[in-house]
Structures are given as C-alpha cells and as structure tokens.
C-alpha cells in the first residue's frame, strides 16, 4: 500500500493541469526502493480531505479528446457493429479535416478535475485488515487498477495493482526456487 500522504492529490475545483503537475511532483518524490512502478493516478479530495474521485491516466487521455457533435457521432458508430478499422479510418479522416491541434491541449488543461474524474464505487474501497487474497479478488472482479484503503472513516492509502502484482510475482518466484 502507498500511504495517502505520498500519493498525488488535488482538490475539487483544481484543473486538469494542476492534477498533472501534482502527479509529476508525487512521482519525483516517490521512494522507488521497494517498487519500480510510478504513480498513475491522482486522487480528488473535497474540502474535508475526503476522497471523492480518481483521475487515472485513461481519464486524462479521455479528457483531452475533442468533443463535438461530429466526434460524438464517430464514437457512436462502434455501437452499430462497425469494425475498429472503419471507425479508425473515420477518426483519421476527421483528424485530417479538422486537425488535432495544440488548441485541444489548451482547452483541456482548463477542465476542472471534477468534470473528468471517475467517482469511486463501493467495490473500490478495501479495509486495511483485508487479506491480500481477498483484495486480489476485488481487483480482478471489479477490473480496478487500484483500491482505496480505509481505516474506519479515514482513507489511509492506495493499494495499487502494480504493487499487488509485484508481491504475487515475488511469491511465485520464491515458490519456484524452494521446490
């Protein structure tokens, strides 16, 4: 688990740009002695320091995609059973016609984090006393990249899939070596 104090956090009302800076800062400060994996998300806190959402790398990428009637129509096409190849060719056509320009980034950095964050579901919280086995079930069945670790009402850290995978990997290796 990564303690919450070492994790990247921003407050409601902050922008996507501030979230990216917070992530960069947390990555610089992070102690990589026990794990080679970088932080990949930012937690969003309310005024009472309660976690209200999570902004993942996927969330950031999703936020910067141009959103207008035409792009919406292109994305909507996948629902109708067209191939990825065709949908991609339409995206390319749009990109050539409209341009995927710096303006997109200029607009994106001003987006408020609460407009692009993912709110957390009940299945994304895990009590600090939960066994690693059970936490693995929770990650796998919910297809989550991390779980929020709680102690009563307090959030104390993040259990990242990369760290869980690291622990499992070491266990598998030591198992093989002892046999």
């Amino acid at each position: 688990m990564v303690p919450i104090s070492e994790y990247a956090t921003v407050q409601e009302g902050d922008t996507l740009f501030e979230a990216v800076l917070a992530l960069e800062k947390a990555q610089e400060k992070f102690d990589y002695e026990h794990t080679p994996y970088h932080h990949r998300a930012v937690l969003i806190l309310d005024r009472k320091k309660k976690v209200v959402g999570k902004l993942s790398q996927l969330g950031v990428l999703r936020a910067i995609l141009p959103k207008n009637e035409r792009t919406q129509q292109i994305e909507d096409i996948s629902r109708f059973g067209f191939s990825t190849k065709l949908v991609n060719s339409l995206r390319e056509k749009y990109r050539l016609e409209e341009g995927f320009v710096d303006d997109v980034y200029k607009k994106a950095i001003r987006i408020k984090v609460e407009d692009c964050m993912q709110t957390l579901s009940q299945g994304e919280y895990v009590d600090e006393k939960t066994s690693l086995d059970t936490a693995i079930y929770q990650l796998v069945t919910g297809m989550h990249l991390s779980l929020i670790v709680s102690r009563g009402d307090e959030i104390i850290g993040i259990l990242r899939m990369s760290d869980v995978f690291g622990a499992v990997f070491h266990a598998l290796k030591s198992c093989e070596l002892t046999e």
């Binding site: 109708f80 191939s83 060719s89």
Partner: protein
Amino acid sequence: MQVLEKLLDRIIQRVNINLRELGFDVTPYVHELAALNQMVKFYAFYGITPQHPINFQFMHSNLAGSYFLGRCRVTNSLLYKSDIRGDELKKKGAVFRFKQYEIPITRDEEIDIEDSLLIKTLVHCYSHDPESLEKFFIKDTIAMHYANIHGSPSDGCFLAPFSTVDLTTMHDCVVGEFSYIQAGEISHIKIDPGTVWIRSPEKFNFLYRFDSRQLENYIKFIPGSKPKGLLFDFVEDKKKDFERIFSLVNIETPRSVPVSATLDRYAVIKPHTKISDNVLVAQRAYLKNSWLGKGANAQENCYIINSRLEGCDVTAHGGKIIEADLGTKVFVGFNSFLRGSQDARLTIGKDSIVMPHTIIDISSPLNIPPGHIIWGLIRNEKDLKTNSLPIREFSGIETDFSIGNMIFEGSGSSFVSGFKDRIDHILDSNGAFFNGSENKGHAQKNQRISFNMIQPYPMGELKGLFPSITIQP
C-alpha cells in the same frame, strides 16, 4: 374508464421496469397521449377468409379501431387503431431456414400481444426469431403513432412515432422517432431519432443518421405533447376521410377494380384513381388522382396522391408518394415520404430502390435516373449526389464506403441482392405476378374477406374494455 386507466398504468410500469437499465421513463411520452376517452368510441374488426387459419383470443383488453387477421391473441393490452395483420404467419408443416438449420414448424404461428400499448401501429409478417418460431410475441411494449413492427418479436421496448423495426428481435430497447432498424437481434440499446440501420453480420452494415435539426421539421416528439412536424400533420389532415369509411357498414367495391386486384374496403379512394390488374390496396391506404399500373401495391398507411406508378411498384407500409412519377418496379421503403408538387414533380426511374425512411422533399423538379438506390434526406440535386448511387456502383463496394451521413461496410452486392430478393418476394406474395391461374398472392386471396365487428362495454365498471372472447373456425 378506471379499468383502462389501471391497464395503462400497469403497461407503463412493466415497460419502465424493462427499460430501467437505459434510464428511460416512458410515462411522460405516453400518459397524456393514450386517449382513453377515444378508446371507448370505436369498434374493432376482424377478417375471415378461407386462406388464413383463424384463432382470435381477446382477453382483458381494449382494441378500439383495430383490425385483426389470422391467428392473434391479445391479453391485458390497449390497441388503438392498429393493424394486426397475420396473413403471412408460418403454417404447420413449413420449414424455417436459419443459417445451417432447417427447423420444422410444429403448429400454426400466432401473434401474441401481452401487456402492451400500440397506437396506430402496424404488425405484419412472421417471427424471424429462430428461437420463437411459432409465436410472434409483442410483450411489455409500447409503440406510438405509425410505428411498424414487421416480423420483429419485441419484449420490453418503446417505439417512438414513425419508427420501424423490421425482421429484428428486440429486448429492452428504445427506438427513436423515424428510425428504421433491421439488424437481426438487438438488446439494451437506445437508438436516436432518425437512425436508419441495416445490418447482416458478416455480410454488410449500413448506417444513415438524419441531422436532428432537419428531422425535427418532419417529426418531433417531446414528452407530454403530441408528435409534431410535417409527417404527422400530413397524416392527421386525412383523418376525416378515414372516419367516414369506418363509419359505413357496407361499401361497394367500385366496378372499375379488375377481378385480379384487391381494394380493401377500409382504404380511401378519391376520384380519378386507376387500379390495374394484380394491384393490392391494403386497409388504411389513401389514393387520390393516381395511376397504379399492373402489379403495383399500396400497403397499410400508404398515401399516393397525384402520382403515377407504372407497374410492379412496391409502396411499403407507411410510404407516401405525392406528385411523383415512378417507373416500373420502383421500391419505396417503409415510411418514406416523397413529396413533389405540381410545379416540381419528382421522377424516379425504373428498377430503383428508395430505402426505408427516405425523405425526398423538393421545390424544383427532380429526376432520379433508372437503377438508383436512394436514402436519407434529399431536397435538391445537391443532396441527391450525396444520398444516392447507381445500383451497379453500390454493388461494386467490397470493403467500405461513406458519403454524407451514410456509412457502409461489407459487400455492396450482398446488400443490393438482399433488397432485390425481398422486393421480388413482396411482389410475389402480393400477387403481382398472377397470370389468371397461377402465382396467386394477397391481391387475389384477400378478395373474399368477411369483416366482423366487436365493441367495448359502453358504460359501467368495465367501460372501455372489450369482452374476453375466443373466435375459432
């Protein structure tokens, strides 16, 4: 009336439960529009012919102004001015072919409508669901004005006005106004208004989407109010003509109708209309000052005004043709609206295919050459360039093609041959190729038909409800 109100509330709740995953509440769309007062006023009627097995079972339902043919069961439902046409249902002993399967039909198929509200809706064809061969079910479903449920079993769905679901099984879906879906099977999906989607997995996929702002001129349906727009106004304007023919007990068939043709007594025929051999004019069709050449047909809710159809033209359910000249074997798909004017006639060359839910609305003359396939919204020559192709060119598509608001993927030749085969099948089953002794179809078989009426309770606790009744041979 309490009994009808309870029935309506029950239907709304059942549909809402099915659509909860989509977050769609039908209540505001339906509650004020289901004219329960009107439902007490009209009789229902059913047809008897030697050709169609009958087994009508009506239970705890209102059937005001609705028509039934073939084997139909209606339970806990409200059907207002709808056509339940079971003259193409599968018969015992037939074989249903689906992919590599050949499945024998063990009993005559029936249309089974339960816990549903259908307003001015057409139900026709047979169940194309390989999992439900002997039962064409419509369950927990609401279909609004001029919707078509064509060979499409439905469970837990909402169909907005002028929508069509064709040869597709639906579960828990919302189909927006003026959308046409032919996709085999769909579930848990909300289709936006003005979507024309035709898909045959592994073969082809066609998608056209109307611009929502342009479509609103023709049809707009917002919660709490009646449908609005040119399409709705057009049909509502002709309502009085239909009221007159429905109020008369006996109507003589005009002598000018050939013996090989059928003119339904519930069709409106205005002066100067020519009906040729092998023509089929279905109930609720409207013809005025028009020429229908040999083998042409006008199906339910069709309007053909000041127009000439040379012969073997198919005007599918809900098609409207005004001030137009159609060459031979032109197919006009479901709910299409083709409107020329006296000074701006529309001409469509022979062997052309007007795709379902096409709107052609012109203010200058427009000439579409023979052998074209046409779709979408066309108001002038410029629109025609992005909404049509010569059929030969369309057949040549091998991977994908997009133009205007249309996207196509797959084999163009499969798509075109699918349409052509279907047009031939329609002409054949409608009797267009009858030669005096062979190839009889609906135009010949539906001539000797007796109509019987049933009426609802006029007052009392059961006011508006039709008596539960079973009618068998």
